[in-house]
């Protein structure tokens, strides 16, 4: 019984490209170990699902749902995350230059970039446990209203929303470098946001959503 099998996407930059904001040690572990584990477990769950489906084994199918959701979510979220980060000091990290349309809407909705950054940071630091903070917009043609949302654990952003960018707030994303100072990580991450990618997701809608990540 065949089932789709996913592989780890390579990073669009070197492991040390985000230093000093995110250390190469963190990036290496996060990509090679954590993201890989989600993919390995997703593939195993998909194989088990195919077997259960062929056998009309409904209880097993049901028991696999949580594992599928968690690991598929982990794969989607990390894939989106890597691409919405850019090397420290690169042109893509300049919001004004790289994301003029997005910046305008952010300023309209939050009053200023600073107010938006503060509101986003509050959502990130307010997470109780593992999870993600996201800037999303409603799907559809042309620029749509933006919204800051959080998702728990590896829950992906729901369908119908386009992820503009996401920030991983699992402790494995920052702990080796920032320890319990997660506010330091939250403050730093703005220096490595890929505003070119964010602008493209924002202006083109669902082209880079979770479904696109999982398309084989």
């Amino acid at each position: 019984m065949s089932s789709p099998q996913y592989t780890l996407p390579s990073l669009p930059y070197a492991y040390d490209a985000l230093e000093p904001i995110v250390s190469s040690e963190i990036m290496r572990l996060h990509h090679q170990k954590h993201h890989q584990t989600y993919i390995t477990n997703l593939n195993a769950a998909l194989t088990a699902q195919a077997t259960a489906l062929a056998a009309h084994d409904i209880p097993t199918l049901l028991s696999l749902q949580a594992k599928l959701a968690f690991n598929a979510g982990g794969h989607i979220n990390h894939s989106l995350f890597w691409r919405n980060l850019a090397p420290y000091g690169s042109a893509a990290t300049d919001m004004a230059r790289s994301a003029p349309a997005l910046k305008r809407v952010i300023e309209t909705q939050w009053g200023s970039v600073e107010a938006f950054v503060a509101a986003f940071g509050q959502v990130l630091l307010g997470l109780q446990g593992s999870g993600w903070g996201w800037l999303v917009c409603a799907g559809g043609d042309g620029p749509q209203p933006l919204e800051i949302v959080s998702t728990k654990d590896q829950e992906p952003v729901g369908s119908g929303k386009t992820v503009v960018f996401g920030v991983d707030m699992w402790e494995h994303a920052y702990y080796l470098q920032y320890l319990n100072n997660k506010a330091g990580y939250v403050e730093g991450i703005w220096k490595v946001i890929n505003w070119v990618e964010a602008e493209e997701r924002f202006t083109k809608g669902g082209v880079n959503d979770g479904g696109a990540v999982l398309k084989l």
């Binding site: 968690f70 446990g129 593992s130 699992w170 402790e171 494995h172 320890l179």
Partner: protein
């Protein structure tokens, strides 16, 4: 400062929580501040299972933050109660659950660990040993099942050996984030599966942490809770 309220035992942490709820809104409430309990062992005493650096950060920084944030939330709750602001009281519930839970969980956790020199890892005896054998087959099978429960946590959380207050039977339960063991179940033995509990030493190899922690489990503390 109400020094008499500075207690090191888990039960006093639980009592503080309980009395805070009961006394909420009364003037005695302000005196019921939660405080960081001292550890009964040195930070490095659990090595090599848990590094001294992890223990120090975990206790001095993480646990302290839960204590501080819990106290802040309770002050805000008290204020909301004085004002009769029901919406504000309800809005504070997640914060109280999270930070109060973090305080209770960690307090219990420190107690159910011990250095090898102080009996850490020595298997349980008596009624608890019998209950574990009856429920799980053997101590080793219990450990295997507990480790499987820990490995299955999707995100941050804890696995606990609990006692059902209605039936007296024991079982394994997992709790997300800092959800505390309250209500029908009594916490006996908890293992912290948050990444901050092991990441500096084990990184993504969490199964190694779950394997190593049994060498520093204080079964005497678990027995005491079981027979309480």
């Amino acid at each position: 400062m109400a020094a008499s309220l500075v207690r090191n035992t888990a039960r006093s942490a639980l009592r503080n929580g309980a009395s805070a709820t009961r006394a909420a809104g009364s003037l005695t409430f302000a005196r019921g501040k939660a405080t960081l309990p001292d550890l009964a062992y040195d930070y490095s005493a659990l090595e090599p299972s848990i590094s001294g650096k992890i223990m120090e950060l975990h206790h001095k920084n993480h646990h302290q933050t839960y204590v501080n944030s819990y106290n802040t939330a309770i002050e805000q709750l008290q204020e909301a109660q004085h004002k009769g602001d029901i919406a504000a009281q309800i809005a504070l519930k997640p914060l109280i659950n999270f930070h109060g839970g973090g305080h209770i969980n960690h307090t219990l956790f420190w107690e159910n660990l011990a250095p090898k020199s102080a009996g850490g890892g020595e298997p349980p005896s008596g009624a608890l040993s019998t209950a574990i054998n009856d429920s799980f087959g053997s101590l080793d099978e219990f450990k295997t099942k507990m480790n499987a429960a820990l490995a299955g946590i999707q995100g941050s959380g804890w696995a606990w050996l609990v006692k059902d207050k209605q039936t007296g039977s024991i079982g394994i339960k997992t709790y997300a984030n800092q959800d505390p063991v309250v209500g029908q179940f009594q916490p006996l033995l908890g293992i912290d599966a948050w990444e901050h509990a092991y990441y500096l030493q084990y990184q993504n190899r969490k199964a190694e942490y779950f394997g190593a922690i049994w060498d520093v489990i204080n079964w005497k503390a678990v027995e005491k809770r079981f027979s309480a």
